[in-house]
């Protein structure tokens, strides 16, 4: 089983601050690197994803930064809001042709009002 190392395990940020979550992966052969967001009692939902031909992708307050040579990608949440309080998972692919995703251990984000 491929390893995915996600950090930090938990994060507390003040409202309006920047939340940064990092993910290190093993396999560089794939073309899709997503972050999933999970609220308590719900299944994970795709938040944002990046292809390795770009170094950064921004969607609203959420940005992925991708460093292919370091085999790392990060999620940045700008102007963090209490509604962003959730668990975030990086989920790089585990296979090139099956869509199998390998989830990190998760980062629990708490945004304080």
């Amino acid at each position: 089983q491929q390893q995915v190392k996600q950090s930090p395990q938990s994060l507390i940020v003040q409202k309006g601050g920047i939340s940064i979550i990092n993910c290190a992966y093993e396999n560089t052969a794939f073309d899709y690197f997503p972050w999933y967001q999970q609220f308590p009692g719900k299944g994970p939902a795709l938040l944002i994803a990046i292809r390795p031909d770009v170094s950064e992708k921004k969607e609203g307050r959420f940005t992925i930064s991708f460093n292919k040579s370091a085999k790392q990608f990060s999620l940045h949440i700008m102007d963090s809001q209490p509604g962003d309080s959730a668990t975030y998972f990086c989920a790089p692919p585990g296979s090139s042709n099956t869509g199998k995703l390998i989830f990190g251990q998760g980062t629990t984000l708490q945004v304080k009002p």
Binding site: D31, Y32, P44, L46, S95, G99, F103, G106
Partner: protein
């Protein structure tokens, strides 16, 4: 927006009993996944279907777990006999293509407690 349906939402069962979970993926999604999520951890793939065929069941404990997707639409995951360590959230997901860049759409899971 179309959703992945799962039932039951919660299940409590005694050790050594049989238990089954059901999943109805988004219409037209050929790929279906069953993941297990232990509290405080990320989801781990148990089995993946492409239409009615198993693509990956390398992490499925086949001595007690079974999964089927007979008509390539809905799917059932069964555990027999259940063990205390099976207590977890069982998540079903589907995707259009099953390719590396196809988003997974998750249901809200079945929370299993084995006593």
């Amino acid at each position: 927006e179309a959703e992945v349906a799962q039932s039951p939402r919660y299940k409590i069962t005694e050790k050594s009993q049989a238990v089954a979970f059901w999943c109805d993926p988004i219409s037209g999604h050929a790929t279906l996944y069953w993941y297990r999520q232990i509290l405080g951890q990320g989801p781990e793939l148990l089995v993946q279907f492409q239409d009615e065929s198993v693509v990956d069941d390398s992490q499925l404990p086949k001595d007690r777990f079974s999964a089927e997707r007979l008509k390539g639409v809905d799917s059932t995951l069964k555990i027999q006999p259940a063990e205390l360590g099976d207590s977890a959230m069982y998540l079903c997901a589907s995707s259009e293509q099953g390719a590396g860049n196809s988003p997974l759409h998750f249901g809200n899971g079945t929370r299993l407690t084995v006593t």
